[in-house]
Each structure stands twice: as structure tokens, then as C-alpha cells.
Symmetry: C2
Subunit: 233 residues, 2 copies
DNA sequence: ATAATAGTGTCTTTCAGACATTATGAT
DNA sequence: ATCATAATGTCTGAAAGACACTATTAT
């Protein structure tokens, strides 16, 4: 391989979840230079011997860092620059990944890196992050917010069975506006992408039905955007 | 630089234009191995000495291949695999670029590679293409079609001054359905992104006004999708 | 005058927001 | 019985499709 034709390359997943009701990102504290001791994304080099393609490389990375083999992800954007990494011209492909916190147990981790869920608010408050990871996280959040206005992307934050109020709350926290309960239910029902499990949630008052995403696979695109913004009294 | 940490890397623009009224892609016939003598995208390695980042690398590539320095582009997707390039694990970042054919003159090209505009139909008819370029072109077209349903992306195919019928025709060829003349004009007018130059096109019958995109910069997102499909009688 | 195409206005449909009313389950 | 929340149905508004009718220019 020729130096002229190659670049330092890595993949960087931005893994979002709701941790303590706050939209949060999985970060690791770097143990080595460059950017040692700073927080960054749980990415890294592609293990070319074990991975036949980029998607496999990302899956391996997710498995290594979180212990889960199945979690939703999609490619976000590729960043490349001579200044991003002090070791030279480098390129990184960022991915947006979503999971329910329960699916991930830190106990299953085999490495010893310091890891944590950090809320987006706390990420913004960090004085410095590794590489371009702050920008990448912002871009990932923008993508998540934009696509949540017209797709069912936020169901990927839910466990297998979930209630409409739980999903609605995820939508609201992502897009930053409130949705009426009735309008939300109508939007979801008319999409025909969920099935009622027949079960009900536990707790007080009238319980919500537990739904499940019926057809595995593709993202659903709603006919219109979520526009509105008013609170249900 | 360590071989373990780096990969073969390139950028590949998919440059669309309307050539002889057909949506077409700029292709070059490869002069060297691998895939010698096959048609492929006009991409290549990043010149790390001349480019500080990926966008610059892409601009340089576009300038070298087409002779234009300003043309619209956006990042499409990054592809990586051990099998894409016989020389080893490689990664390429594809870009979607749009231009009006007039802006590009083959005469301005300094290199000697065989180049041509090939219609998408002819691309599909090719028995074989270099690398994963056929898949990349298909993905680029999908992105173009999808985004044309809710953005003003197709104005990037227009020269500076253009008529609504010309723009409408571009939309129709991209999305594959017809739009009513009146609905199209209403959609464009209500977006408030074009200004009437006061000039009229030349030709027969009642001439159309020539419009110009008023604010340079961002892509416009329409409030709703183009859905419908019926011909104006 | 005629043909071709541009511009205007109205009706319908779809879908989201608002909101009132009814239903259900925990206490 | 009361309260909280879920379900249902109606009204409004925005925006796209359909289409009739008028306006303008070349021939």
C-alpha cells in the first residue's frame, strides 16, 4: 500500500439513548494520545482482517464497545482533514446509532476504558473533546431531529414493547416541541406499523396498551411533517 | 503512517446533468488497471498536499475533471470493503454533483482521459463498470429523486436564468411523474426563492418569464411532498 | 383569427393541530 | 365517586391535485 494513496481511517458511532430521561451519547475517556484524557466517541480503526465492509466494521465496533450485536444504525457523514488528527491526513465515517438503555449493559464490556452516557447538555458544556467529535455529535443530533419530524426513527429508542406515551415523550424530547396526545395517536395508528400486543402497561390510572413494531425492517416515512406545537391541557 | 491504521481512499463525484434532454452522468474510461478500459466515475485519490479537507479535495477533483470551480455538490455516502478494489481494503466517499451542461466545456479539460455524458439508461445497459460505481450511481439517483420531492435541488441543473417550464421538465424527468403546470407554479411562487428577472424567453407563443434563484446558499425545503401525477390537458 | 402557452381562481382531498366528549381503570 | 389518562369524533387550516376560465404573444 502506498502512503500517497491512503489515509488514516476510522469509524465513529454516535450512540444515542435516553439515560435518566435525558437524550444522551455514549462517550469514552481516551486512554492514549492524541487527545488523551479527553472524552470522545467510541470509535476507532477498522479491523481489516475481521471485517469485509464498512457496515461490518461498524457492527464490530458497536459489539466491542457496548456488548450488543443488534442495534439500529445508519451512516451519517464522512469527515476528512489534515488537521483533525495530529498524526496526519485522516478520514472518519460517523454513524448514527440508537438504542434503548436496557439493551446495553456496561457489565458486558470487556475493555477497561472509562465510559459513560453523557447528556447532550453536558456534552455542550465540555471545554474540549477529542478530534471533531463535538461537531459530529451535533450533526448526528441534527439528523436525528430532522428525520424524527417525518419518520419513525425514534422507535429505535424503545424496548420491544412500548406505550404511545413513552414514544411520544421520546419524540418530544428529540424535536423540542410538544405534540398533542390525540394527534400523536392518530399519526401512529394511520401509519399501520405497530401492532397492539394485547398487554397493558403497569401503573396508575388507565393503562396504555403496549405496542410492538410489526414489520421488521425499513424506516417508515409519514405523509407529512410534525409541525405543531401546543400543549394538551 | 501505519498500514494497519490506514486504507486506500478516494472521492468519487457523481456529476449529473441533462444532456440531450436525458438525465446523464459524467463518466471516464479508465486508462489504467484495475478495471482498465471500463467506464467509471471521475474520482480518484485525495491530493493531501493540496487539500486541507474533504470538501476541498472534491472541489479540486471537480475542477480537474470538468474545468468548473463552482458547482453544486453534497456528500452522498461512503463505501468501504475489502473487495471493492483488488489492491486491498479501500474506502471511497461518493458525492452528488449537479450542473447545467453549458457550464461545463470538455475543451477546458487538460487531461486526455476519454470522457462522456452517459444517460442513466445507457449506464444500466453497460455490462460492467469500474469498482462499485454502478451501485454508487444508482444510490446518487435515488438521493436526487427523493430530495427532489421536497426540495429545490433541481434548480442546480438550471443556468442562471431559467423558465418554470424548463425547471418543471427537470423535476418531471427526475421524479418520473408529471406535474400540473399550475400546481408547479404555485409551489414555486409560494416558496419565494426565485425572482423574476423581467426578461422573457425567446421562441414561440406566449413566452415564459425568466427567473433567477434570489438568495444564494441553502437548499429550500418545501412544506409538502410532490405527490400527484396527472397530465395537464 | 388561431394556436399555444401563461396566469388566476375555485373545488376537493389529505393530513396535522385544536379541542370537546366519552370510556376505562386505579384508588 | 373521583381522578387521571385513553379513545373517539369534529372543526379548522395548510398545501397539493384537478380543472375551468382568462390573458398574452407568435403566427
Amino acid at each position: 500500500m502506498n502512503d500517497v494513496d491512503s489515509v488514516l481511517y476510522s469509524v465513529d458511532p454516535v450512540i444515542f439513548t435516553f439515560h435518566k430521561s435525558e437524550l444522551s451519547v455514549l462517550l469514552v475517556k481516551r486512554q492514549i494520545e492524541p487527545y488523551k484524557a479527553l472524552w470522545g466517541l467510541p470509535g476507532g480503526r477498522v479491523d481489516k482482517d475481521k471485517c469485509a465492509n464498512l457496515a461490518e466494521a461498524l457492527k464490530l465496533k458497536l459489539k466491542q464497545k457496548t456488548g450488543i450485536d443488534q442495534l439500529f444504525f445508519e451512516q451519517l457523514e464522512t469527515y476528512g482533514s489534515e488537521s483533525m488528527d495530529p498524526r496526519g491526513w485522516s478520514v472518519t465515517t460517523a454513524y448514527l446509532a440508537l438504542t434503548h438503555e436496557d439493551e446495553l449493559s456496561f457489565a458486558s464490556l470487556k475493555n477497561t476504558e472509562a465510559m459513560m452516557w453523557m447528556s447532550l447538555e453536558d456534552v455542550e458544556a465540555l471545554p474540549k473533546m477529542a478530534f471533531w467529535h463535538r461537531k459530529i455529535i451535533r450533526d448526528a443530533f441534527s439528523r436525528l431531529r430532522d428525520k424524527s419530524l417525518y419518520t419513525d426513527l425514534p422507535v429505535n429508542f424503545m424496548p420491544e414493547k412500548f406505550t404511545y406515551p413513552a414514544l411520544k415523550s421520546a419524540y418530544e424530547k428529540i424535536i423540542g416541541v410538544e405534540i398533542t396526545r390525540q394527534g400523536f395517536a392518530r399519526r401512529m395508528n394511520s401509519a399501520n406499523i405497530f401492532e397492539d400486543t394485547g398487554e397493558r402497561e403497569e401503573g396508575k390510572n388507565r393503562p396504555s396498551p403496549l405496542y410492538r413494531k410489526s414489520q421488521r425492517g425499513g424506516a417508515y416515512v409519514f405523509p407529512g411533517l410534525i409541525k405543531g406545537v401546543k400543549n394538551d391541557k
